[in-house]
């Protein structure tokens, strides 16, 4: 397998405050990778460093090339970043949110709308509804659908389980898995819910205060003593 995304010794800071102190990680093509860690460990910042919405240093390579430019340039290369708070355009309609997902693409989107409809059948009935009036779970689904419209090579999800009922969390992760298996989308997911993230991902990284503390195949990490105690709670 070849690496789709490679971070080498990446630092990031908010003003004078350092949030990442040299993070290195690799995401292979077609893989699902989870980034775990407590609050403030630098999970969100890692995604932000990739989409360049935070001041960053170090080397980031995407599909073999150094990743340059602002967030809009990163998006155009095929990285879909669903940020904290889901990045929903609450004031716009569901349809407009989906259309914005495909903003970087040209040509006919009919097939894409149909395919999104096959994953999220309820979206079609709600297409003219203001996105902000959807429930939290629906908004999370919408953010996935929006990211899918972008036809990304890499899908980055920031805590998709946040604020959702357990059943909905399962549903969201099932769809992420489907997108990965059926559409070949590589996924980098940041999660506090280590249990479900380790089930989904093939590889996982554990961050502690801005550094990678542990990494390896999910199955190994699930057995790992400190991961079990700190993040899985048994």
């Amino acid at each position: 397998m070849t690496a789709l995304l490679e971070l080498r010794d990446v630092h990031a800071r908010y003003g004078p405050v350092n949030a990442l102190h040299g993070v290195s990680l690799t995401v292979d093509e077609g893989e699902i990778v989870a980034v775990l860690g407590a609050n403030g460990a630098g999970k969100t910042t890692t995604l932000r460093a990739i989409s360049h919405t935070v001041h960053r240093d170090g080397e980031i390579r995407f599909a073999g090339n150094a990743l340059r430019g602002g967030p809009e340039a990163v998006a155009r290369l095929g990285v879909a970043h669903v940020p904290e708070g889901r990045g929903t355009f609450a004031e716009l309609t569901v349809w407009e949110n989906l259309r914005l997902g495909a903003y970087t693409r040209r040509g006919n989107l009919k097939d894409d709308f149909a395919r999104v409809g096959s994953y999220f059948p309820w979206l079609d009935d709600r297409r003219h509804q203001q996105a902000g009036t959807l429930s939290g779970g629906e908004q999370q689904m919408l953010s996935l659908a929006r990211a899918f419209m972008q036809r990304p090579r890499l899908l980055m999800l920031d805590e998709p389980s946040l604020g959702l009922a357990p059943l909905l969390v399962t549903e969201v992760f099932r769809i992420v898995q489907e997108l990965n298996e059926n559409e070949g989308v590589t996924v980098l997911v940041v999660e506090q819910n280590a249990h479900i993230a380790l089930q989904l991902a093939q590889t996982a990284y554990v961050l502690e205060v801005g550094r990678v503390a542990l990494s390896g195949p999910s199955t190994d990490l699930q057995q790992h003593e400190s991961v079990r105690r700190s993040y899985l709670g048994y």
Partner: protein, 331 residues
């Protein structure tokens, strides 16, 4: 119809709060009955609409920039005035009125884009005050440049619509008023369609609402901000070119009172709302015209203070303006 609405992707719009809607319906009924009973009333109403759409289109330009940049562009009126001088110059060079008109709109777009890139972009993202001060500086700069190039003397331009008067029943309607209304509404509708139906328009709305999220889906927000300034300048130019024939003369102060009324119209409509700006402008235009005729102490001197007193009253009752609203949002 449903199928058509789906195809056009018309969103299910929220209606403004029903008291506002009732008020507007009541106002329309009042105007209709008045117009049916009195020729002068009807004449004043039509003339008021013509003045009002001009206020409305400049107000819309202000709203456009307010939504994208979150500041009031105090130079909007002066930018419009400068564009009228450009049209004047083009006609001096021998262009016919409508050739000059459309060429001026193209120049206005470029002017707006360049202005944003040179003057606004460097201070964008700093404090609101910094941007506001820059727009005030622009006001003075444009004023100075226009006086330097064309002097402050009054100039005379070709009239676009002539002096013809039509009669609708017994009501005389000036061709100029009709022309002003049609041209302005066509520009506003074109702009609305651009924002509603095009990808670029959607990107601009997204960028104005949530810049960070818009950049994440690949919207080049900086470039689109400049386009927004360009479009606002075009709308301003239309307002300017429609103001000039009503004032009969061209001078550097042309748009200053119009800008004040446009502020009032924009705030009345609720600063965030493009439709509100237009409705606010038309309401203000009619209101001023009727006041001038029927409330004798108002006259022409007190028009501006009375307009602002009315505005104050509306804002006391509804601080967000007629169409302002808070966005519904679930967590």
């Amino acid at each position: 119809m449903v199928e058509l609405a789906r195809k056009l992707s018309l969103p299910q719009r929220r209606l403004p709060g029903s008291p506002v809607l009732l008020l507007l319906i009541a106002a329309c009924i009042f105007l209709t009955i008045g117009s049916l009973r009195s020729t002068i009333f009807a004449q004043l109403t039509v003339a008021g609409v013509a003045t009002g759409v001009v206020f409305g289109s400049l107000a819309l330009a202000l709203v456009l920039i307010y939504r994208a940049t979150e500041v009031i562009n105090f130079a909007q009126g002066e930018m419009a005035m400068a564009m009228v001088y450009v049209a004047y110059q083009l006609m001096l060079w021998g262009l016919a009125y409508w050739e000059a008109f459309f060429l001026t709109l193209a120049i206005a777009f470029v002017f707006g884009v360049v202005t944003q890139q040179i003057f606004i972009r460097p201070v964008q993202g700093r404090s609101v005050i910094a941007v506001v001060i820059v727009t005030v500086g622009l006001f003075i700069l444009i004023d100075g440049l226009v006086e330097w190039k064309w002097s402050a003397n009054q100039r005379f331009m070709q009239a676009p619509f002539g002096n013809k008067i039509y009669h609708l029943g017994s009501v005389p309607i000036a061709r100029q008023d009709l022309g002003t209304i049609v041209i302005t509404l066509v520009s506003v509708t074109a702009l609305w369609a651009f924002f509603r139906f095009t990808k670029l328009g959607l990107g601009m709305r997204a960028g104005a609402l949530r810049p960070a999220a818009a950049r994440l889906v690949g919207v080049r927000t900086n470039a689109l901000l400049a386009v927004g300034w360009g479009l606002a300048a075009v709308l301003g130019a239309v307002a300017g070119l429609m103001t000039e024939p009503a004032e009969y003369v061209l001078q550097p102060t042309l748009m200053q009172p119009v800008l004040l009324y446009a502020f009032a119209a924009a705030v009345l409509g609720g600063l965030e709302s493009p439709g509100g700006a237009l409705v606010g402008g038309i309401a203000l235009g009619i209101f001023l015209n009727l006041m001038g005729q029927y409330v004798h102490f108002v006259g022409s001197v007190l028009q501006l203070p009375v307009a602002f007193a009315a505005l104050l009253l509306v804002l006391l009752v509804k601080p967000t303006g007629l169409f302002g609203h808070r966005t519904v949002r679930k967590v």
